[in-house]
Amino acid sequence: MPFIPHTADDIRDMLAAIGAPGIDALFDEIPANLRSRALDGIPPAASEMEIGRLMTERAARDGRRLNFIGAGAYEHHVPAAVWAIVTRGEFYSAYTPYQAEASQGTLQLLYEYQSMMASLTGMEASNASLYDGATALAEACLMAVRAHRKSKSARVLLPAALNPTYRDVVHAVAGNQNLAFELLPYDAKGGHTTVASLEKYRGQDITALVIQQPNFFGTLEDVDALTDWAHAAGMLVIAVVNPVSLATLKPPGQWGTKGVDIVCGEGQPLGVPLSSGGPYFGFMTTRMEHIRQMPGRIVGRTVDLDGKPGFTLTLQAREQHIRRSKATSNICTNQGLLVTAATIYMSLVGARGLAQVAATSMERTAQLVAALTRIPGVRLAFDRPRFHEALLLLDRPVRGVLQALADRGIVGGFDASADYPSLDNGLLVCATETRTLEDIEAYAQALGEIMTSAAAA
């Protein structure tokens, strides 16, 4: 099926109208040595039937494993109705249609999504989503520099307990835009970021402090004290949060006395299945005073000529199709389909359902930690309260243990030793509401056998 509406005749007529001999002639001004050649090593196109078979075979090789890995993406139950609705023809598009006269359904859904995210995070305004949690944080750092006009340094403090992938992406996206990042150590005992670690920055020009709650280790930060300290020191505060946790934890809009300035995070836990790292979606909310510095699209509610309510993109003067190179951001789209899933997920589970997901996940993780730390050679890294993830320390390299677990069909957690070499043999584990007590018992039994066998040491 052709996806390009121009027929061969159309193309010939257009070329004739401008007097060009062929399409290649339109690219004449690009020097030959800069042109891409045919791609090497790419096999010829396969049919849908062939691809379907190949993928089914490969998926079978993965098998059905018992998963205890989180580290930024989480396995939650997604009610069957969510994707049944998302894949309806009215929603199921690779592109997000924004035309107000043709897309009221999509625009209303995005508006509802924004309302839900603003409410969940305790902020005043939300955009229509960004690519993923890590790029949302990079955008939030750039936004903070634009919004904090008194600060000239473009220096941003990142906790070492921030998801290391987010740190890498923030450096990659914002590091070349004259932002400087400084790493805050985590407390060796609690695994959290302390106000004491901020003291050395007192009196300096720092644009923003990033706080992840829960942090990468699953540990809960002292968000009120950190937020108040940063505000008193003249910094903006950026919160990176797991949206599910907000059903039980205090929303960032209420951290400290003033609440944070920008909230962002990964939206995947809201109805998006695990899928080799994506596609997921990022979210971002803020206060009204900063809304013109927020990247992405924003849907607003308005009335038409007859006074009937309707929805349309708003505040577009920030965006690159109007402001060109001076646009707030070059992010000009959103993850429409995944946001559709998240909106339907939230509307189906509701506030109480989301609170149950959060509470059950916390409880399962507590049970998992209790079961695993009974095994000799396994201990808990940090003693602070946590959400649904915990860092364990093993008495031997993590990699061999994870391999032995994988041989038994268990994905045992995230090997944190490469990102945190100073933590001896760190294993980050997570149990959501999808893990049963039997699952946890099966993991504990397998790990116990592996840890007592000399071979794995």
């Binding site: 008194k150 013109r292 001076k326």
Partner: protein, 131 residues
């Protein structure tokens, strides 16, 4: 026809400048500019204390149609910005040469002011633009 007061100086990019008795220069956008932009919904003005150079983009006015940079007519230090615009950007539409002023700059070199377009030259520039 737009209003081009004779006692002000102008830039081709539609800013006006007024030399005040205390030696500072008040800056805004011309009546023509506010008409062309339509209803203004937001104005971003520089912080007092900021150094600007002549020709530098130092403020932004946003209407329902477009967002445009405002260029400084002179080099110097921003000594005041119009805080009323935060809540009432429409002042620029209603009174572009009065309550809709954007910022006040203490120029490094007062002589530079006299090199700006006078009303006649700006009117000529406007006429050239429309033809």
């Amino acid at each position: 026809m737009s209003n081009v007061p004779a006692d002000l100086r102008y830039l081709k990019s539609h800013e006006w400048a007024r030399l005040e008795a205390d030696g500072t220069v008040t800056v805004g956008i011309s009546d023509h500019a506010q008409q062309a932009l339509g209803d203004l919904v937001f104005a971003e003005v520089p912080e007092a204390g900021r150094r600007v150079t002549a020709g530098e983009a130092c403020a932004v006015v946003e209407s329902v149609k477009a967002a445009s940079d405002v260029y400084s007519p002179v080099s110097g230090e921003v000594v005041a910005a119009n805080a009323d615009l935060g809540g009432q950007p429409e002042l620029i539409n209603q009174d572009p040469y009065g309550a809709g002023w954007l910022m006040r700059i203490r120029p490094d070199d007062k002589a530079h002011f006299s090199t700006l377009l006078d009303a006649k030259a700006y009117e000529a520039a406007l006429a050239a633009e429309t033809h």
